[in-house]
Symmetry: D4
Subunit: 226 residues, 8 copies
């Protein structure tokens, strides 16, 4: 069977200001190699999410400029964009240590786009003092990304306390009713805190891109985004 | 058709220490009248939950000692048990004004069994200072009942702050993913706060009875409940 | 029964820069009157969502400065904040005429906070040319809010075309699998467009507040929000 | 235990014009061998879906005329039907590279029944220009099969642009709310594009047979199908 | 609030060969009047689905050429397209009398587009002889539309017997697990009959448009649809 | 930790006429050994369901009178009850070869209780003639057990044709909407055929015991079961 | 529109031994009149389920031999079959008074087919002594039908105590997680009691027909049902 | 990437009287080592839940005072609190042997906090006599914890018989509708027994902490918990 090869969305950077991102989980190593080869030839950067250790090992052997980020389960090709402090900082918070993978994916994706970040783990609301004593660290942030599994109450409490944009990321950590992250997702969507917005379960990358859109479109005082 | 009539569970008081309770929502006025007549003849108290204004009106006309409690949507027959302060107090909290119906059902059910109660509305976690500034009022409570709709985070935050038994009651107030109270229910079950227990959505009466069991079984230092 | 009265979250404006908002759907007229009285005495503005014609009629009779916004099913007390063009404009798009209620709630909530808005109806993706020919109108917007029922594909297509923050609002318009807006919600969460964030079904108000957070926190070039 | 052996539906070809198809996933190698033996003796063709590499290896060793199609995870016995161009062509589109397995199953099933096909990958709607620039290739197709995971918006956009029959195939590629393909399925069923029809998640074979029915029943201008 | 008015998708007829269709259920009478006025001015036909008796009454008073089709709950504006027998006939079957509304919507939508139709009620599979004795009537049909509530087995049995395209329409008739038509929908999607395709629950109009696409694209022996 | 050991329900045979059955899937080999030892000492028979090859191997090594039934994934201890033809025969039907495991469990469980059985595979309704031509074999059966995955229509068609008790067993064979057997379960529960009853997904043993209850309680013409 | 009229399944009595039954809930009065007229002309009996007071009133005015059974929400046409005591008795149990409607439908349907019945209300398992003290009454029954809402534990406890066939009927009485009867349905399907079979939620009629099949097929000692 | 390290909730013991507990399932060995090191340095006890054999082996090699509790899948660091009989005893019951893991987690967690416990396995309600004959053993218990999979009826029957607080723990043992413990969870929440409260599926630890809260807050007759 002859079929037309993968068409990369090569204008994404121009259109949206984002590095080409590849969803790695459901792709074979062969498919990933083919895609990365194309990007390499075009001198493009690449950001591959949801890559396990084994796939990563094979890809790193083949691509010199590839780098595996173990905490975030991501693989990058090429160098990150130069940090641009004028865009402001993003703080990524997580309820527990188990949420690290998702929080790290968000952190890495922002850092790779030149955004300054800070990661704040283990500030879940069942031990409220941990969050309350961290508020100072959060104040300077332009955007807050809050990752939480279980009942997912962290973004709700946070968005009730702070005026910044808060992006909730439900995490598939839990068991029973919270096994796949649905309790957390619904808790965030149902939040009584005004103006909390949400992305798909475990979608650290998506939260990062939502934050990037916010930072970029407000960089200048002109009315038009750039 | 001739069928065997409703058998009241007349030993419930002796066995469990609870007044006969009747689930009013799916019963016709005729069925309720029949049941209340039987109880009246036996000199028993009755506690009917989920009775609307219309049904209540008809029943009050027929039974002199019946009383309708509008906030709680409950109807009682006979006098409440005498308040027994030695059992300790129960505080019932709610996230918002819309949760009143359920909180009031819990409060009434406890009061009707002779328990001292306090009701604390509008302490939802999206405005955290309201809860934090109320903690003093809560300290003296033997058991806490926390009613919340939407994302249902109140009992989680509460159980992380206070050592008492906390019973979460999800409330069917919300829309979209929280329309029927499921987001709230799952949030409470998935809670990362240790030792929070939960009853069915809108089950204020059930939470009250769970609190009653707790208070009664610990009244004396003997090992056996009475 | 004597219970503690509704505690309004009176510091919300200072903390989050938002007018006091009241969820109207599950509250009785009596409860709303009590709350609005309190706010009026304190000289506060109020924004009541999900009020039907009947409730609104009764409230308008009692409060001189109240105004009912029929399209949006909202009632306001007092005057809107003065329009502040420096914050930039928000375009609210909707897939079909049936989504008007939700889109109008978002539009009104922003306008009431002094934000300039534009409403663009009937640009659903099944007639793609309608959206493509409207892109010019969208370019100047700082934030995009996209409301859609049925399959909810509008925000996905939009976020693939435009670099701004896009907030998706699923609308409970549909039947069968899309009856309550769940197909639309899940479609938006599952979107393959990077950086789309989502609020609860029909939550026009929430989307507006998410947009407000974005606009406000980026007003100045300083790193701290105000 | 003696039980009656598998009864093949041997008249399917006469009745429906389709090659005998065997669902391979939940069958053991032993069961598949027994079935293929029977068909071979009768001189019949066979089309086995959802066969993994390991099962395929064992079967190919046993049957000379068997062939494994790796992309499609299908195994065939015997030669395909002779291509009949008079029936027209079918284009199979997919949103991303990860959908290949399902798209390839559809393509193979049609090709095996003598239908001319074209496969068009990576035309997902988050990069709309890829689809728009491919419309020329699609015009000549008699039927369109659109495979998509995630939010599954491709068939909706397609059916809004093109007049042919469009068959949507949800693909179980995604995570969180789209993990098993349900978001995609519901998105297609809820589509606001008129006349889009849908098959089960990952059912590339079913979509192919639906297309075959369409092509065959309209071959002649007579009113009766043949 | 001034917002941009409803944009009708006026090129739909040219693009897809379909009369402008309006989803009537979630629109107010005012919204429908506005839309119908626009179409009338442009000399266009209109097909409004899911209109109840009350709405229909008001609209018929205002529009001379409007007509209400009670069985189908649809309202039409203008005359149907002239019947074109060369396109072939469509038989619409239903499992029970209760499915009439949906079957009638499909039948009307096709008839309105000039297609010859036949309606065959009460051929549910629990009394199989009714279907088997009707097969003769079905043979001449180019496309079959099968509407069924409850367990929805009719299209499965039908697609196992007949070679034509079969479009299943789940109907929201039932109770318990089949209350909203989901059991029927899933039964059709899960069907073991090859090549059955499905539309949303109660979507008679959608099934009709899917059938129309099939009939039109195969009218001529040329490879391109018209 | 010292805990009270497993209490076998040793009176089950006297009370219900059933051999002691043990659910094997969630038990460790150690737990099963302990249970089987107890039964052996008491001279009891045992019927262990859902045992995989590996567990079975270990158990067979330890217990001389144990026997593994591979098709049914069951292990038995001791000899079956003597066949009692006076109770009548049960025919177990299945839609496809993939349902064998469940059908075999039902067949074995009945045979082990002394019931005469017949197994009829591959009579799914998508090839209706296979079922219709088998009706003669079914007529003599006292009870019918119909196992089906996918859309699960077999018991519906069967119960519409035959007067005997029909017990439907949904099978977890399928993919997409039918992946875990839910489509099949709901299809059977929603059946429009009168008097079809259903057991849990894959519960071949349960269906067998339901059949056994039917056969036993009607053996004599006396009014009391024995 | 001319369509083929409702085809009654007139051979059902011969085939299955059941009176013609009509599902009344989703049919208009006009449709019911038409069906009953046909049956009356043919001298057939009819059993219409799920008829409300209003519909019943209109039908009774038109048909002399019609009778409305208020408890059961059923309407019958003609006289019941003559009681045949040789078939044995069926006891119908219910957990609470609220389940009466469903239990009464089952009872009436059996009585209408000439079966002797007994109805035993309010034997729910939360007051276990009520069930235990009724066991004597149950012993003589050939088949047991157990109706229960809420958690639906009654049939499980019953099937653990008694050897007869037990048919569980989940009832849509409850709230929160048990609102539509799903908790009860799943509880019955998941039962650890061997040989319990289940019908759809509220399907009293179906349970009755399942019982009828059991009684009829075992009347004689011959191997063939009659 | 440098991120802030895990913040242990070190005041939990003072605040809630509970040993530091760590959720082990979604943490890597490295994460667990880091956390246990911190606690060890601080001289704290630790209770790690959901640790498998493999993880436990590695941890035990590293920490001298660590102990693995195989039945409960828990690992402890340090010695348990000294048994305090004045707090009273807790009986943990389970429906079947398969529920052991969850029951053992609850038992161990209580014992580790100095509470006297008794474990009573295999008292499921399908063999009711086993529960009824154990009631004597239960009477002395201050709190009852009832673990059950499948239909989860045990806590309902128990709470109907006994006056103590009953905490239901659904167990993820089952298949089909009860596969993940949801049938059991919903059955417990929907229970008709008054005052039963519930924790998440498999949450033995949570049930233990709920029991601990009850015991501790009632130790003295003073109104304030300690």
């Amino acid at each position: 069977m002859n079929y037309l090869h993968s068409r990369l969305d090569l204008h994404r950077f121009q259109r949206l200001g984002m590095v080409e991102a590849i969803w790695g989980e459901h792709k074979t190593v062969e498919q990933l190699v083919e895609i990365l080869e194309s990007l390499k030839k075009l001198g493009k950067l690449a950001f591959v999410t949801r890559v396990n250790q084994e796939k990563a090992g094979k890809l790193i052997d083949l691509f010199k400029t590839a780098q595996f980020h173990e905490d975030a389960h991501c693989l990058t090709l090429g160098d990150p964009l130069i940090e641009d402090n004028s865009l402001g900082m993003v703080v990524i918070l997580s309820g527990g240590t188990s949420d690290l993978k998702v929080a790290a994916e968000a952190e890495l994706a922002l850092r790779w786009h030149g955004i300054k970040t800070k990661l704040l783990l283990d500030v879940g609301v069942a031990g409220l003092h941990r969050l309350l004593s961290s508020l100072k660290n959060i104040e300077e942030s332009k955007v807050l990304i809050a990752c939480a599994g279980m009942e997912g109450a962290l973004p709700t409490v946070l968005a009730g306390l702070m005026p910044q944009p808060v992006i909730g990321v439900p995490v598939s950590v839990g068991y029973g009713v919270s096994e796949k992250g649905n309790a957390s997702l619904n808790g965030m969507l149902a939040s009584c805190a005004p103006g909390l917005s949400v992305v798909n379960i475990d979608n650290g990358y998506g939260a990062a891109m939502a934050a990037l859109r916010i930072l970029k479109c407000n960089r200048t005082s002109s009315s038009k985004c750039d």
